[in-house]
Structure formats: C-alpha cells, structure tokens
C-alpha cells in the first residue's frame, strides 16, 4: 500500500514541478511559525525541518513559545503587516476563521494527487477545507479523553479491571478512595483541564448529545438531560480531585499520580510523552479509552495542523509544495507521532512496528472504532469544536462549576446555554 502512495506523491510532485516553471531552479524555502519550541514538540518539528532540508529546502522556523494564542498574536501581526509566514500552525475552526482575513493557498490539487482525503476522518477533513478548498493540512491526532490509571493506585484499590462505563469509573474511584488513595482523580487546575473533565463526561454519556450541543450548538440539546448528567458526573470527578492544585499544570502532579496518591487521570495522548520524559516507565501506568456508557468507543479528536498562506515569492511557493508533501507523507507522520506520542492523521499507517507504544496502538484502534460507530467528535476544551470566542465562553461556565461546588448541574446547564447565546 505504502509504495502506491509514495508513487502517487512522487507523481504529484513531478506534475507540480512541471506546471510551475518558475519554481524550477529555485531552492524551496519555508518560513513557518508555531508554538512548538521545547520538549517532544520542539524535537518533532526540528526533525521535520531536517527532512525538509534533506529534500533540498531552506527551513526557517520561528517558534513562539507559550500558549497557542501567543503564536496567534504573532501571526495576526504578520498578516496585518502583509507579510504572513508561508506556513503556520493553526487548528480546528480557527482555520476557517483565519482564512477569511488573508488569502490561503488552495491545496486541493496537491491533496488529491496524494490521495490524502481518503485516509483522513471526515470531521477532520471538513475543518481543513473551508469553502470546500483545502487550505490546511492536519499533521497529527491526539485523543483528549484518554484514561490513565496509576498501577500503584490500582493495587491500593485491589482492582485490576479497566473501567468501561462511567458507573465502572465511579465505582473504581470509590474503591481507590477506600483503599487509601488520597485523590482518586489526578488533575491540574487549568481551564483546558477543567474542560476536558466535562467533555469526557458528556461524550461518554451521549456522543449524539455532544455532537448536537457542543459541535452544532443546538439550543434544545444544550438544555437537554444529557448536559445535566454530564455536569453531575463532572461534579463527582471534581470532588475526587485535589483542591490545592489552584491553576497548576497537570504535569505538576504526575509524581503523585505514579506513586498512587492520585488514581486516575483524564488527559490527552500527550501525557504519555510527558510521563516518559519525566522518567516514568510504561509499566507505571495503563492507558485506556475514555469511559463510554453505550459500550462503543468514543474519541474526542484534537489535531494539530499547518495552514499555508499565499506568498508571491517563487522559492516560498516551492517550499510550500514541499512542506505539503512532507506533512502528508506516511513516513513523516510516523516519525512525528513517534516523537510526540500522538497518532498519525492517516488511517493507513501501520502501528505494529517497534517505534509505537501499546497506548498509541490502542488509541488508533479506538479512533477506527469510534469513526465506524460515528462516535469520533471534536474536542471542545482544545478548541476543535468551536472558535476560540465561543470555546472560552463555554469553558468559563465549566471551570466555575468545577471550582464551585455550590453551583448545581441544573444551574450550570442554564448558564452554559446562556453563555452560548451571549457569545454567538
């Protein structure tokens, strides 16, 4: 299979090089900005840059460390100055929003030549082709509702079964509490952290309600019983968390999680990379799919992507083409995901090799199953389901609910619906 794809990619390259005569003879150059500066993210994009240079390109990556929004501020400044980077990190519905403020490269032909659309999940593909034209390319996929279990906490609870439904999850948390685990749920205190608890609860209770309320902002679904149930489940989770975490990053408490003072963690796939980077072993913890009440896998999608901005310079245009081919290349996606702990966007990459972990294989399997059951949805907490303004308004309600046990699930449901109306 891969050989056919490679040949298709090569054919596409040849065709493109032939059609753009101007591009011949110039050295492909790429100006890129992203937030990936350090850790496994920094290592991965540096490796990608090396590949770009191996193919004869000039790689000019300027990382903007910090939150994604910091990177966006730099991007905004460059766009307003009329000097956008040839390529920048951007994801989710922001791709459509930003493609309205500056012209993007139409990648439709190059995507078709590579046969990429067939191997990308449809919800994801839709986000990257505003107005039906590919403007951005997804690079890697993360699951935001992965369930991490501490082996030592499982021992304390004398439990060995991985919870499947939310009832199983709650029972296990009680057992852990009884077994002396100080906080059955490991947590940080940041906004996305709080958001992940709620979205994992809702998607596990009803993926249909998630799609209607969170992705489509259907007013009836937003006031529905599933939202109340999700808030009620979030309250249980919040009560099992350590209240002292204030605004800490989740990684602050990983040592306590591994030691069994904290039991379970609802986090993204990136936590695997963070755990291994911190010196912990794969035997210290178990990675499992997020709880799902209907027994079929649910998957909250988060995908990093590159958007390509229109430039007139022939060397930048050649660089954009080269970059697009690299991003879609299964070998490159393999290299990238093996460094960061994500899974490839392409559904046809074989994860049986030694470079992959069991957690990554399980994640890829769960994604396949969830897509088949139409239960792969876009993450709210990680800005995949809505534009930033709407996301922030919804997370406001969720984070207040998590931190304030006096708010009832009914009140939170009303407030969520109101926040959505206010942010429209």
């Amino acid at each position: 299979m891969t050989t056919i794809h490679r040949r298709a990619v090569l054919a596409g390259t040849a065709a493109l090089l032939a059609t753009t005569a101007r591009a011949q003879g110039v050295k492909p150059r790429l100006t890129a900005i992203s937030q990936w500066s350090a850790g496994s993210d920094g290592a991965a994009i540096t490796a990608l840059g090396k590949k770009f240079e191996e193919r004869g390109g000039v790689w000019q990556h300027s990382p903007v460390p910090g939150f994604t929004t910091d990177m966006m501020n730099k991007l905004r400044a460059q766009i307003m100055a009329g000097d956008p980077p040839a390529c920048s990190q951007l994801k989710g519905p922001e791709i459509a929003a930003w493609s309205k403020i500056a012209p993007t490269v139409d990648l439709t032909d190059i995507v078709a030549a590579a046969g990429y659309e067939k191997v990308v999940s449809p919800d994801l593909a839709r986000l990257h082709k505003p107005g039906g034209k590919w403007a951005a390319l997804p690079l890697q996929v993360y699951r935001t509702n992965a369930l991490y279990l501490s082996k030592r906490a499982m021992d304390k609870a004398k439990a060995d079964k991985i919870p499947v439904t939310w009832d199983d999850f709650n029972a296990l948390a009680e057992k852990m509490k009884a077994g002396g685990v100080a906080n059955p749920i490991a947590n940080g205190g940041t906004r996305p952290d709080d958001g992940q608890k709620f979205e994992a609860a809702l998607v596990g209770i009803s993926p249909t309600a998630y799609r209607a309320a969170i992705m489509n902002l259907d007013a009836k679904a937003l006031n529905g019983p599933e939202i109340k149930a999700a808030f009620a489940q979030t309250r249980k989770i919040a009560d099992w968390m350590d209240p002292n975490t204030a605004a800490q990053h989740f990684s602050t408490n990983l040592a306590r999680f591994i030691a069994g003072d904290m039991g379970m963690m609802i986090q993204g796939g990136w936590a695997q990379g963070v755990l291994l980077n911190a010196g912990f072993k794969l035997d210290d913890f178990i990675i499992a799919p997020g709880p799902t009440n209907n027994g079929k896998p649910v998957f909250l999608l988060n995908a990093d992507a590159f958007i390509f901005w229109q430039r007139k310079d022939p060397d930048l245009q050649a660089g954009q083409k080269l970059m697009a081919e690299l991003v879609m290349d299964p070998a490159i996606q393999t290299m990238y995901s093996q460094i960061t702990g994500s899974i490839p966007v392409r559904s046809d990459v074989d994860l049986s090799g030694p470079g992959w972990s069991d957690g990554q294989r399980e994640t890829a399997r769960t994604l396949q199953g969830a897509i088949a059951a139409n239960q792969a949805v876009l993450s709210l907490a990680h800005n995949m389901a809505q534009e930033n303004g709407m996301t922030a308004a919804m997370i406001d309600v969720i984070t207040e609910f998590v931190k304030n046990s006096k708010i009832t699930p009914e009140q939170a449901t009303t407030r969520l619906a109101e926040a959505v109306e206010g942010a429209r």
Binding site: N73, M80, A97, N244, A246, N388, A392, D396, R415
Partner: protein
C-alpha cells in the same frame, strides 16, 4: 536660539506622547463600535459590543472584584506604608538598609511577585504546609483556592509589592514637616502619640491623597500580578477588568468587544482621576487667592 532649543525639548516629546495617548484612545474607542473580530475592520455596530461585554459574567465579576481589590489594596497598602514610614522616622540605626529592603519589592516585576506568592500561598506547598509541618495540623490558610477569599491573596501580594513605595512617599513627607512646628508642639507638652495625631499626620494629607490616587490607578490596571498569582481563578473568582480586556482581544479574537471593555476601564480610571484633578485645581486657585 536658546529659546528654540527650549521649545524643542519641551514641546516635541509632549506632543508626541500626547498624540500617542490621544490617537490610540481614539482608535480603541472607534474599534469598540466596529464588528472587528480577529483583525480591525471598518463598520458600525452601535452599542452591541458594550452590551455583550456588560452581559458577561466575567465583566460583572471583574468589576465587583475591582471594587473589593481596589479598596483593600489602596487602603491597606497606604496604612502599611504609613506605619513603616513612622517607624523608620524614629531616628533608628540602619535606616538606609531597612529603607532599601522595604523599597526593594517595587523593583521586582509583578509577574515575579505573583509567581512567588502563588507558591507561598498554595496550601499544598506554602505557608499552610509549613505551619502544619511544625505540628499545628489544623492550621488552614487556603485563601488561594477559596473562591470567596482568593481576591484577598491578590491584595496581600499587592501590599507586599507596593507598600514600600507608599512608605518612601510618606517618609519624605514626614521629613519635610517643619522642625519649628514639632519643637513648638513639644514645648507645649505634646507626647509622641499626640505629636503624630495632631501635628505631623494632618500636615501629611496632600501626600496621602497623592499616594491614594497613584495606588488606585495601579489597582485599576492590575494585570500581570493576578495573572501570575491566580490566573483569574479559581474558576472566574479573581477576574479583573484588565484580564477581561486581554481575554477578549487576544484569546477570544474579539477586538471589538475587547476595545469596548478597554473603554469601560478608561471610564473607570477617569472616574478617579477627574475628581482628583478638579480637587488639585481648586486647591491651587485657593492658594493663589490667599
């Protein structure tokens, strides 16, 4: 020739900075009436952005917090500064060293202050843990994670940062009280307490007003301190107007609404500064007449 140089030194910087302030204020005000989202656009939406900002819980929480934080921070910082200044004024040894120590927090940026206090005040690793470790296990100091008290942690860190500044101003004031006045009071038999309450402090009040106004405008534009200390949390409990402005402009991609929030903040500042300006004007007029 000399006159030209004088005019240049005074007017060029003055016009530039005034132009800067006025131009950007006008621009922001204009933006607040446009439908701008990710980038500025031309258009007119009337008061819609203002209605949207005023309708959010963030803004109402931020404004309530501003009243609490503003009052707490200004009054307590001024009192702490005054207390330190009076103690330092007792012709003690090592006054210079102590003065530098008290003034030193002012040299630290608010982000550093916020970060350090976020560790000190965290019940899991700061003061509470220390005291618990000493054996007083029921000791609780968890304001940082208590929604109702969290805003006071910002006040504490703010006092630590700014009281040295208030002290320096008050100390200068104390030193400028006429020696004859103090001598006269002492001859009349005034004790130290009476000397302060009846003679020295009443002559300090123009400085006190200046300190209060400077601290109040600090309070209104506080941003980095609270961002580093609580990040606006727990939940939304320590939101302040400057955080809301930043949030709308740069996190949510709503330049129009962010500008509206910024204009509302400016109006709050004017509410403080205009009465102060009027009061100063009135005093000057009265002094000129006398």
């Amino acid at each position: 020739m000399r006159r030209v140089a004088e005019y240049l030194t005074i007017w060029v910087p003055l016009l530039l900075s005034a132009g800067h302030v006025v131009l950007f204020t006008a621009w922001t005000t204009w933006m607040s009436f446009t439908p701008s989202t990710l980038v500025p656009v031309v258009g007119w939406v009337g008061w819609r952005n203002y209605a949207a900002v005023l309708g959010t819980r963030n803004w109402s929480i931020a404004f309530d917090n501003l009243l609490l934080f503003g009052a707490g921070f200004v009054v307590l910082t001024a009192l702490t500064g005054l207390g330190l200044a009076i103690l330092l004024d007792q012709r003690i040894r090592a006054e210079n060293v102590l003065r530098s120590i008290f003034l030193y927090p002012m040299a630290v940026s608010f982000v550093v202050t916020g970060t350090v206090w976020s560790w000190l005040l965290n019940p899991g690793m700061g003061v509470q843990k220390l005291v618990n470790g000493w054996g007083w296990t029921s000791f609780r100091f968890d304001w940082l994670i208590d929604r109702d008290m969290a805003i006071w942690t910002v006040v504490i860190a703010g006092i630590w940062q700014a009281s040295g500044f208030a002290m320096a101003l008050f100390l200068a004031g104390l030193r400028s009280v006429e020696a004859d006045l103090i001598k006269a009071a002492q001859i009349d038999g005034a004790g130290p307490i009476r000397l302060y309450t009846r003679v020295i402090l009443p002559s300090l009040w123009p400085i006190a007003v200046a300190v209060l106004v400077i601290l109040l405008q600090f309070a209104i534009k506080t941003f980095d301190l609270v961002r580093a200390l609580t990040g606006g949390g727990p939940g939304l409990a320590t939101q302040l107007p400057a955080l809301v402005v930043y949030d709308f402009m740069f996190q949510r991609g709503h330049i129009g609404r962010g500008s509206a929030a910024a204009v509302l903040m400016l109006l709050t500042l004017l509410g403080v500064l205009l009465p102060y300006g009027a009061w100063k004007f009135y005093r000057q007029r009265r002094a000129a007449r006398a």
